[in-house]
Symmetry: D2
Subunit: 349 residues, 4 copies
Amino acid sequence: MKVSIMGASGFVGGELLRLLLRHPSVEIANISSREYAGEFIHRAHPHLRGVSNLQFISYDLERIVSNSDLVFTSLPLKASLDAVPRLASAGVKVIDMSPAYRLPKAEDFQLHYSMVHPDQQLLSHFAYGLPELYRASIASSNLVANPGCMALTSILALAPFTELMDDEASLIIDAKVGSSGSGSKPSPAGMHAIRYGTVRPYKLGNHRHGSEVRTFLRSRDKGGVDVLFSAHAVNMVRGILVTLYITAKEPIAAKDVWQRLRGAYGNEHFIRLVKDKLGSFKLPDPKLSIGSNFCDIGFELEPDGKHLMVVAALDNLMKGAAGNAVQCLNVMGGYPESSGLDLVPVFPV
Amino acid sequence: MKVSIMGASGFVGGELLRLLLRHPSVEIANISSREYAGEFIHRAHPHLRGVSNLQFISYDLERIVSNSDLVFTSLPLKASLDAVPRLASAGVKVIDMSPAYRLPKAEDFQLHYSMVHPDQQLLSHFAYGLPELYRASIASSNLVANPGCMALTSILALAPFTELMDDEASLIIDAKVGSSGSGSKPSPAGMHAIRYGTVRPYKLGNHRHGSEVRTFLRSRDKGGVDVLFSAHAVNMVRGILVTLYITAKEPIAAKDVWQRLRGAYGNEHFIRLVKDKLGSFKLPDPKLSIGSNFCDIGFELEPDGKHLMVVAALDNLMKGAAGNAVQCLNVMGGYPESSGLDLVPVFPV
Amino acid sequence: MKVSIMGASGFVGGELLRLLLRHPSVEIANISSREYAGEFIHRAHPHLRGVSNLQFISYDLERIVSNSDLVFTSLPLKASLDAVPRLASAGVKVIDMSPAYRLPKAEDFQLHYSMVHPDQQLLSHFAYGLPELYRASIASSNLVANPGCMALTSILALAPFTELMDDEASLIIDAKVGSSGSGSKPSPAGMHAIRYGTVRPYKLGNHRHGSEVRTFLRSRDKGGVDVLFSAHAVNMVRGILVTLYITAKEPIAAKDVWQRLRGAYGNEHFIRLVKDKLGSFKLPDPKLSIGSNFCDIGFELEPDGKHLMVVAALDNLMKGAAGNAVQCLNVMGGYPESSGLDLVPVFPV
Amino acid sequence: MKVSIMGASGFVGGELLRLLLRHPSVEIANISSREYAGEFIHRAHPHLRGVSNLQFISYDLERIVSNSDLVFTSLPLKASLDAVPRLASAGVKVIDMSPAYRLPKAEDFQLHYSMVHPDQQLLSHFAYGLPELYRASIASSNLVANPGCMALTSILALAPFTELMDDEASLIIDAKVGSSGSGSKPSPAGMHAIRYGTVRPYKLGNHRHGSEVRTFLRSRDKGGVDVLFSAHAVNMVRGILVTLYITAKEPIAAKDVWQRLRGAYGNEHFIRLVKDKLGSFKLPDPKLSIGSNFCDIGFELEPDGKHLMVVAALDNLMKGAAGNAVQCLNVMGGYPESSGLDLVPVFPV
């Protein structure tokens, strides 16, 4: 499959390149970047020196359309809203990494992005790119919206348990994220001396990734559940951990929780269930999946059986972004789902 | 005042020394350590080289009693349970840094420490060492239990809002803590290569500091509220941030929240209210109070007025331990409450 | 003494404020900042919230001159070259934190800053602000150039040993520095995700701070010694460690090294000699002086007695910048040299 | 090829497993660990959960000999000295990861390990496992000593330049290393709160890896050159950067340096030459090779042409240990040298 990446100079672009350069069924057609057009790949991605001699091209949609079967649009919101319709109408498959096509409901989009979605029609043709839950619709779609990294982590943690949720109680999602999730653009708040050693809460309660979780809950007839989604920036580069506080309508037992987890993910290549009595890592920790496409899920259940805490951890640039997107590509292309993704975590790092 | 520290070789002992060596009304009588008896202070606390030439003595209770007005017991649980009664019966004031006298209710102690409290009688004479809430009882007591670091942070965040809590909803406390909170004793899980870069959830739901919060809620007639207290180890040495998810029984407005915060803490020297629209630090972050005795408190209120998120941040060795304990000493000794504690945060670090 | 700070919104300005706000003999007159004029101090220095309600003024030289006995110019090079002559001619004492007046030799300045120094005349009236070596000239001068942070560290490590240096051998200085040394202005290379975890060599051999060391060597008749000064950015916010590789013309013994160190610094308040056989910190480490004005010096001597390695460590914003500058103020003002500087290191952090 | 790992529970063992589990020509026969015998692999290596279900066996040499073509001995010094002769005499190929067989000269071994080498005879049959320099002898040997991580990095940086070195001048090697190089055994100095944020010099001048460099220099008739090898622990988990200060006997030009580097490494798969005028990474930085087998080399030459600074950077667990060892296996087994090693660096991390 001939694949291009638009907006290939950011962190997600770099991670897509790390994966696609070694993917057995992919040939990279073009990589575009306004800033680095004409430059070699290592100019934006110094770690790829000696790995590839690709050069960035400019934002040349005609050229990209002409030689690509699939395009990853790893662009800012507005650039995606501009490029995706043109790629779609040219018949090219698209996996969009931006938030442009993640929220099917007009109000949700407007709430977070302060604009009316310009193409509600196209939006309805997008599959939500979470293979563990929507494999079939991804396989049959040409247009995939790659989920927000914290939304994806949360939905994977939540999915086995929606049925037993108490509609009256709030769902609390407390997320902790590394700095690579904020992108590579310089900012005062992102400077090492300022960002290092912080635990910086932001978007308490109403982070936009919460709306993706709400969309998911609606799809499970749990649209009435309040979702409080809070993010905290912590001192690491890669990684997300989400802690979900779920209230059950009826008391449940630990074996029910296990059963649901195994039922949902027992055959999933990239989901690991982690709940141990021994060792330094008894529950999921993003440190255990750096560089890999794993999402680890574990839990704790209160003795009353009504309060269930689910934790999920992953590498935000992999299963939280590029890895998951390549998994979608595999589903769309009919390749083995772990094709190009069978990477062992790098530990310790 | 002549002051001694038993168990002075750990991180809390080191921080007490940093403060007491510069305290205008304190003379350090003895510092004891089994491991470092006979050694100079910089052997255990290399940063104090050139600051003090004190020497550790062994665990010599007679000597300590004979020349101390007040003793900080910075000892493991069982050592505290042994030393404190003897100090108390000798009429020496005690500020206990261990968890030995924090939980007045026998079941709570037994739950977390798997033993019956050996001296329930003495326990009842202890004041809970949180000056902002219990100034009077600390002032009139000879025995003070310094709170658990995350409990203290949480209770300060919670106190202004107990009245408006919905008894039916759970109180969620999601804490993020640095490595100095785990003490200096070597362990596999604490090694730099293993502990660095983690977000490691532990004691999800039932951390022992949750029981201190429950004790506090009972004192406010909110004993029926479920408390889920979860801790997460993150990649920093000093610092705690707690995120509290509070459900209000009736909708409230942001100005009510401000009013309650200002009412509770408007005159408190060590509490800063942080909620800003600009800058890199819009809400509390432990990075802003390193080395100081400040506790920063901020909040976010959902539009429905029923979901209130309160965040509080501090330096766990200062306001979370030694700084707060010296504040208690000041209250007990009748000194200005900021005596020896008027330290400006070190930033950035 | 009435003191103002021009350019008070950067990291060095913030550290000067941390010190001066608690200095017993200093009253802060004005703090200026182009960016923050009219704003409260915590807007630029969030850690100072609740510590001070000072407001920044604009760059108003008249006003500053009218009410200041001494001004810290914590400005970029060109702004210092503009402001300092005007302050000097108005009779105000100046401690300049920029590199504008550190290098007395015209060629050196031109080499590093690609411009001819505009006021060679004024330059000759500056004392080099290193109290341990130039106390007398600082005391009698109205104009002080605060040294470059790595230069200062290196010169303190080197000073006791210049006499015994082999003129034919090179002096190698290998420096490791934290991110706060690069200032607070956003840059791609300084972003957390990029700067975190690096060991980034820069200015190998010809860092500008090397020229300050060369200037010092000339003053000791060792101008012929080649100096290779290399800097490496490492993963911390505060701290400098320099490793000096010195070749002796004649073999020396460890006791000679000790004698020289004690002779030079035995009575210095802020220099600690660190060379231990036990413990986790056998030699200087910047981690041991964070927040304090200490410079730690230690050494290793090869069995041949000809190769001496000296290491020195300090907090770059304290003894490496603001702390040292306040020490200069104390010397200039006739105050005890540790006035406002008697801060105990914060450890661990 | 059937391969076993003795001492497979440490960091190097874990990294060997990460590589060998994906190596196309290797089948893992046995992995042994005294501590984890009988346990699943994820007990020691939590990141390998879901990747492999191997179990550790005890130290059962018979069993290992019976089913292995090649054994990695990733053991402490004395355990290697015990196991290797028995493996060798049984005709099994050995790649020893310990320092037991790295130093051919008896005095060197004795100096650093305070014991006489027990098997000088066997020692002489070992190839030094640095494929870029000793490919042929590795290919023809059954016994390979994997180099010390900092020695390997230094020798790769040095090799192109030995010819032009001034015999009278010292070679200075200043190394900066991450915490994973110290192994996983708990120690006070290695705890996160103590090790975090340090720049801790150790073994100034006489680190044991210096003796490997001296051995190499003797092989190039440069045995007279003094080598000062100093190590500094810095705040990262993976990574080494060495800065070499080389004095040339005659002035050289930058193009000569390039020529030598290209001549030595132009065809090497795992060596990248890094010297750039643009970007955040102008010279080698270990951050650019995390998880990969690359060693990056760059340089700076003083205008006098006599002082050459060479820097080299790599991932200490990869090219500095396990990756290099698998490269040796590939050479010994006649496989493509990048077999199982064609991993793209993970960046940023």
